[in-house]
Symmetry: C2
Subunit: 329 residues, 2 copies
């Protein structure tokens, strides 16, 4: 355990490094610490022994280690009250009651991503938990129409379809009714196979030329099941000074393209969870902060990804604020 001065010192080192991205020297802190640089150095030596800070080379200033960030986050940092500016940006969203849940969530992380220069990810409830609650078809022209799929969680997708012109609107209606009858209540990820094994054999009997429509829904279900997350501010991370070498940059960008990996971010613990460097599966170079939201039976995860050197106190407050507001919907 650290004493008061050691705690203060670690706090100063972490916060200074977060601000400047440069190793912190003993000299730079002795004014604030009200003691000589030698004293600061003695305490620094202790913090280094404890593994909370480290040098980039033998005679450099100190930077927080992973463990140091962890200690800072767990024991020192207090979430930062949102300032007027931040608050204002979020208020207009929070008070907009005409957004449906999914849109509201997307918009929330979009704003937070922009405010923090971090990359934000929303991992909604998995497609096995989203049940089809309705399919609908809207005619566009003689031979095109829009197939609409709506889930019980309120997610909506549309897909444009070209149909064989010989299909009558009556047949379309019959097909849609049939699909609705057989497929409502099915999880999205099972919908396409259910369509294949239960609807397809029946559909042919009653309705000729139903193939195009069948295919449209088949593909729509598949696409819907596979689009599993939303990502905002992808390129924000490029602007961080720690990613000033192309090697790291390309590595991270490639990770961002890896759907499996991003999906594995999904959180199952409650509260705000912070994974610093090697604690996450993405990269030792980043911190992932994530939390679950849960509203009207829909559960999902919101994650923020950025350099380990991030403003934890502010980011946590922002994330907390938006998830609370999502939960309260």
């Amino acid at each position: 355990m650290l004493n008061a001065r050691q705690t203060e010192l670690l706090k100063l080192i972490v916060e200074d490094y977060i601000k400047t991205a440069r190793p912190v020297s003993s000299n730079a802190l002795c004014d604030i610490m009200n003691c000589s640089s030698a004293t600061v150095r003695n305490e620094m030596a202790f913090l280094e022994d404890t593994g909370l800070i480290e040098k980039t080379h033998i005679s450099s200033g100190r930077v927080p280690s992973e463990k140091g960030y962890r200690y800072y986050v767990d024991n020192i940092m207090v979430p930062k009250e949102l300032n007027g500016d931040d608050m204002l940006k979020l208020q207009t969203l929070v008070h907009n009651h005409s957004l449906m849940l999914a849109d509201y969530i997307t918009k929330s992380v979009e704003i937070v991503s922009e405010m923090t220069s971090l990359t934000a990810v929303v991992l909604g409830s998995s497609s096995s938990e989203n049940l089809i609650s309705k399919v609908e078809v809207v005619p566009v022209t003689e031979n095109t129409l829009v197939a609409i799929i709506i889930t019980d969680k309120g997610h909506v997708e549309h897909k444009n379809v070209i149909i064989d012109e010989k299909v009558s609107s009556d047949d379309i209606k019959k097909t849609v009714d049939l699909i609705n009858k057989l497929i409502v209540g099915t999880p999205i990820d099972e919908a396409s196979s259910k369509l294949e094994y239960e609807v397809k054999p029946v559909i042919g009997k009653y309705i000729k030329q139903s193939e195009a429509l069948y295919n449209a829904f088949y593909n729509a279900f598949n696409d819907f099941a596979n689009q599993s997350f939303t990502m905002r501010g992808r390129s924000n991370i490029l602007m961080q000074p720690e990613f000033d070498d192309t090697e790291k940059l390309r590595d991270i960008i490639n990770k961002f393209e890896d759907k499996e990996l991003i999906n594995s971010i999904k959180e199952d613990e409650n509260g705000i969870n912070i994974y610093i460097g090697s604690e996450n599966d993405l990269s030792d170079e980043v911190t992932v902060i994530k939390t679950k939201y849960s509203v009207n039976g829909e559960e999902g995860t919101i994650a923020l990804i950025g350099p380990k050197r991030m403003e934890y106190d502010r980011v946590i407050s922002l994330l907390d604020y938006i998830t609370k507001n999502i939960n309260d919907r």
Copy 2:
């Protein structure tokens, strides 16, 4: 004008540089040119005087200049016949007749972007040329619904809406009918203001509690009007060796985020147009290749963006192939 040997030399230099990304020496070419390196050097000196190639430093090999690429593209290069592999990847798409136009175009550039490692942009017909052909509403739950907007060019957008629960389905129908009656045929970018000045005053008289629905369409029209392009393979450019320094990388990524700038890419000349380095407004470091498509009255631009050092012969063929296929739809 260049003689046969000079032409051959420029061709070799450009193509070698495109392949290797390293300055081309006289020695490397004398075998193929069937003469000594001194002779190659003499010709190189001539090409350099003409401004077609340049050195990276006083004793380096040569790289094509902007003017050199231009000459190569205009006078030397012949579009490369698509190989079996490329052909195959495109064929399955071309023969897929169940995709509506907009989807087909998006899918096309997606594939080409992937095949070429370039960034692809589709700039559809401007929102002033897209006329509303139909709006429709599908109920989801008691107090939510999906508003659907369809344009005469076959573009479809949906927007989720939360309505005041007091609105009866009959009132919704009336509202939609009214909007349809007054707004069909209006260009998208004028739709929201027309809604405000012509529909809003009327709607209140007949239907109480119409505000939510009105707002939904108002926003939907606005959003629809402003989403003006599709971009694929954004991060491909990161992988090119010429963008191995973070400075350039960040510059380009920022340009990609600039909607105005991307929108200004729009092409008005016919055929495939190539803008090398300073010839385009994006960056001296890139080439933009673009062409118009035009089908069923819908006109738009497809653009490919990549390093100046790109396989012009192959890229041009691919772009030509997909636009031809789009035009033939």
